[in-house]
Symmetry: C2
Subunit: 365 residues, 2 copies
Amino acid sequence: MIKIDNATDIKDIARGAVLLGTGGGGDPYVGELFLQAQLKKGNAPRVVRLEDAPDDALVITIAGIGSPSVMLEHLASEKTLLEILRRAERLYGRPVDMLISCEIGGVNSMFPLALSAISGLPVLDGDGVGRAIPRTEMSTFSIYGCPATPGLILDESGNSVVIETVNDLDAEKVVRAVTSALGASVFGAFYPMTGAEVKRVAVNGTLTKSQEIGRCIREAREGSLDVFDTLLGHLNQDGRFATILFDGKIVDVTHETRGGWHWGRATLKPLSDADDVFTVDIQNEFTVARRNGETVTIVPDLITILDRESGEPITAERLAYGQRVKVIGYSADPLLRTPEGLCVIGPRNFGIDEDYRSIEELTKS
Amino acid sequence: MIKIDNATDIKDIARGAVLLGTGGGGDPYVGELFLQAQLKKGNAPRVVRLEDAPDDALVITIAGIGSPSVMLEHLASEKTLLEILRRAERLYGRPVDMLISCEIGGVNSMFPLALSAISGLPVLDGDGVGRAIPRTEMSTFSIYGCPATPGLILDESGNSVVIETVNDLDAEKVVRAVTSALGASVFGAFYPMTGAEVKRVAVNGTLTKSQEIGRCIREAREGSLDVFDTLLGHLNQDGRFATILFDGKIVDVTHETRGGWHWGRATLKPLSDADDVFTVDIQNEFTVARRNGETVTIVPDLITILDRESGEPITAERLAYGQRVKVIGYSADPLLRTPEGLCVIGPRNFGIDEDYRSIEELTKS
């Protein structure tokens, strides 16, 4: 199992989590700082394999919810993290045995690890999506029958809201409304599951994958290897597929905040004089990449934009004119590509009037 | 103690509640229908004097929350009312002994009576404001030390949200956000109080007052007496003061929905050729009445507009060009006129840049 013993381990996970965040999910920096401070105190988070969850264990998610930019200004306090655990145990009427990330991409890779470091509870090596997503109900937990509620929200002032809805679409509406009312940065404990359930519904091994992706980029850089060769070698494993979709520079980026989401589009051109135009649409995450108007990767498959020299993945809000980048497409976890999965996290759920086609179908022809 | 045995009793209470609603508080019509149906089944609500609440009783408020127009379309179901009581008892960890209205003005005079009819629990003869108000924290319960939370919201689908905030300003924000997320018509159980507390913080006798006001208008009409003479005779009791502020017709009404509130202004002129201009500002309720620019009554004192023939009180959203009306000003309950009360429910809390002056001071000089 992966070990998290030092600042480099944490940085690797955070870097991998930004790649899996596909432009969204928030910057894990706050969580990184928190974990580094804990390591200095001798408090290391503990990760265990998904397969090792006892069938009767109570597993819950711990997440930061809200605007990533506001979240950056509010470092999680030990007090609040421990308080949300205490209140979750009161809500569920029994001790919590294990934690899991609701989404591995971005900031929410970090909060379960942070609570693990201070509480001693183990974190399962997996999550509910294998990437980042903009809405509560877009989760393999929801899709395969483990609802988000009853769950609870807590803010740093001590305001708490216990939510129990008849479906996860309503849960999403209430969570979003409460988060906004409480100032756009809160913590949540949701998705109470048994160990038996979580083994059935979670995307497996994604903490390990984050760390490996992060390490792969770092080691290639340190060893002066080609970062992208190394990275693609790593991603093209276990039946998953990844490829470079485009190599060029950003010539335009639009950003808009509307309905609580970050919308936008990045437009890229090749470094050569060629006329190709490449676009990446943003709805918190990168949702669809098109070359000259032809779709080459679309949700739930992953799109990630990386600095073309360092291989550092770049979040949507940091994209800027003139950046030289490579765009990678990466097949989603098989749990997202089933008919049940695509029903909830397919292109039309993002308002894109297009059927899902896999990155393999779109790029290998 | 008042008895509620037939349709006339209910109609009287509802009419009085509209007067005390000072233009807002919603139309009690839905609650009226519900109660009439219960009376036909032999289920009468039971009202007891505030003084008779045992010190150790658990008293809570039951309210409809949301847009009155949406609420009109959603008749409360017996199932939902009983379910909110069941969930409140689970939340508070003990049986609820008595109910009380959070605000007597408008629709929320009715819901505790409705639950009383089907559950047998008594309703205390009082409320948390003696009129209608636009925000949770504007309550004598809040002002004198009994917070709104822990409390809960339930909708007809079965979605529930338990709210526990550090102050009632935050409670108001969360309640408003959740109500909007769940479709603008929900039910709430809030303000858990002991009998000892409720006797200290409630406005006393307001169910009786509603029924008496309603009966007074009806009986004057039936007996061909002057409705306004009779009504003013009734209101000018127990140290309270009421007077006719204006007699005329509505020559203009503006309505605007902004930030979840109903804003507007009614402009009136005399029936004679006189040049007087009388205005009543609306923020859900009527907030300030001015004659030729001079304030004559301002919150928390009550302003109510009545049909000048029938004496029927008119809610803000029903005001229309050409209506012939009389405007009554009525001193607020003494609990709202203390420095603590005015701090929360004074003119500046409604965005009016003016100090509170009592209706007595403004009209008797």
